[in-house]
Amino acid sequence: MKANSIDSAAVAGSLAFLFSLFIAAPGLALECSSKDLVVKAVYDNFPGAGYWMQAGGNCRITYTSVGGVSSAMYNICQRQRENISDYIDAFPLPDGDLYTHPGGMGFRFYDIDQGIEKGIRAEATFNDRSFLGNYQSIGTLKESTPQKRHIRVAMGNQAGMIQEYKIEKDAAGKTVIAPVLTRPVPICKNLETGGLDTEIPMISRDGTMISGRNRITRKTEIYKIDMKTAQCSLITTVPVATNKVSFDFANKNIFFTAYDSTTGKKRLASMEISSGKVFHLSGPDEDVQYVTNRQDGSIFYTRANGSGTDLVELAPNAIAEVNNQQKTFEALGLLWADACGNQDVDYDMAFGIGRRLDKSVCESLLKPEAVARLEDEYSQVSMSELQAVCKAAKGNELKGTR
């Protein structure tokens, strides 16, 4: 009996000790990497670099080239590559049932299932031989319904030249596609530079805006398109050179990669179109290659991982809203940097880190002595504000599992 009591006490004591460790150190240890930031999923060793990614439906991402083929597709639900027709620049419609290829053969629409099954032998559902070019992007006009879609396509290497298509099902359930404009329309010729560039024009998801690089200033600009006059009016200018931007489906923000000349890495960034405010969103160890947005609000980006590429998925609303709390988020990002001994983080990166911190990591950073050591400009940020932000932060589902 005595022995059993000692054993029980020993076991109870061990359990209490382990439990106390859990209480004393809530959450998990700092990784001091992007693993401390909230992500929904990471698809390690993603095949290719994910350039020009576009999401089609819930499961599929198309992008340019891997394995010596001209277009590639990745099924994130099954975590594997899928076949797609080997023509350049596959670009799916957001609903994911159709995708397009541009090129000298014409602007072609394909059924996704056919494309996967037959690859290059898939027959185009519709081919517009009068709309040539490459670097296409697609917006869906607001009058569209799931049964009757009206899309607007901008051809990037034709300086954003536009054609529109109506996509419907006939009585037999067959997809019928027809061009809307009598011929493709050149746009933005009213600009001082004579038009958009021929590399990065991207139309917004609702078809009303277009991005392009100003040949003189070399900055990306966002324009409102007036299809009645084919003229464009400037809405805002991104203060740096960017790659092809991705409009979100709310048509309120653009996402892009911006080159950091100090580190040689590219950052994930967004810009609020109405205000022109730029937000940095990636961590110091991330070298972001490309970003795209999905219809449900998810964000996907690829980043170099030393030996290849990871595809990162952020859930809708994974990035905390700013709500006049810039200083609070910056302070959190700097607390993380200080805890990790990283003195190279700048305030813009800290802001992004603060908005993406995992909840348990966030809470573990809130030590009064660490907060007191922050720069004077954060002296007005109270502990209760920091705690409130951490309380609202999301948990990183992947933390501790990778």
Binding site: V66, G67, I200, I216, G264, D344, V345, D346, Y347
Partner: protein
């Protein structure tokens, strides 16, 4: 009196004509700097010769500071990099010696009557790759020819593969040497697949290891074409797949612009 009037009107007209044909790149920089605090002091310090060059937008970051969105200029002849940026009340000019990695920053603040202040710090370059087309290779290339082209492709963008033949064709038409290089992040196995398809020559799989090239927004988009002239590598690049005629027009325009800027 009549002669005076004719001369006066003539000078006014010629001034108007001159302002109308002002270089658009220079005009762009002048317009940007107009709104900069302590603009006069900054412009006087930087000097007209440097301001005449082809500056490009750049995001300038520093530890525990706010990112600035300014302009930069890399000079492969002087082996220097320059940056200009401003905040609400101040303007800054940085000169980086690329050989010694010493960075000197001169600042003017309108809160102190635009009096200049200066600091020196060390700023090493980031690393690209150990092996490949290095800065030494680039230097040799720039010195070896009066002018030429550098084309960078990636196995992950098929149009950059298709564009190699276009770039080489325009180089041949123009009598220019062309150096074809590969994305430093490319997997050689992926590149080899394009070689097997005979779209790429094995000699074109040499990766960019040059900090100078990698510093020019090189990996924002492929393909990317650079032009160099009189040992100066232009800061303006040309991205995207192009037909030969488009490349030809750009080369002519860029070459003429460089002649103006390098005077």
């Amino acid at each position: 009196m009549r002669i005076f009037l004719v001369l006066f009107i003539g000078s006014v007209l010629s001034l108007s004509a001159e302002s109308q044909v002002q270089d658009p790149y220079q005009k762009n920089l002048v317009d940007q700097l107009k709104n900069t605090p302590c603009s006069n002091q900054l412009r006087e310090y930087v000097g007209a010769k440097l301001l005449r060059q082809g500056w490009v937008p750049e995001m300038i970051t520093a530890p525990r500071a706010r990112a600035a969105y300014g302009v930069s200029l890399r000079d492969t002849i002087a082996q220097k990099k320059y940056q200009i940026w401003s905040t609400k009340n101040s303007a800054h000019f940085a000169e980086i010696n690329l050989a010694t990695n010493q960075k000197g920053i001169t600042s003017w603040d309108n809160k102190s009557a635009c009096k200049a202040s200066a600091i020196q710090l060390a700023q090493g370059p980031f690393k690209v790759l150990k092996a490949g087309f290095t800065d030494a290779d680039l230097k040799r290339t720039l010195k070896s020819h009066p002018w030429g082209l550098i084309y960078v492709w990636t196995p992950y963008m098929p149009l950059s593969v298709e564009g190699i033949v276009k770039a080489k064709e325009v180089a041949k038409k123009k009598g220019a040497p062309i150096t074809v290089l590969m994305d430093p992040a490319a997997d050689p196995k992926e590149a080899q697949k394009w070689v097997s398809k005979k779209k790429v020559d094995p000699s074109e799989m040499r990766k960019v290891a040059s900090v100078e090239l990698a510093s020019r927004n090189m990996n924002l988009h492929y393909p990317i074409l650079f032009i160099y002239k009189k040992q100066f590598l232009s800061n303006r690049d040309f991205v995207g797949f192009k037909e030969v005629s488009t490349y030809s027009d750009w080369i002519d325009m860029e070459s003429a612009q460089l002649d103006k800027e390098l005077k």
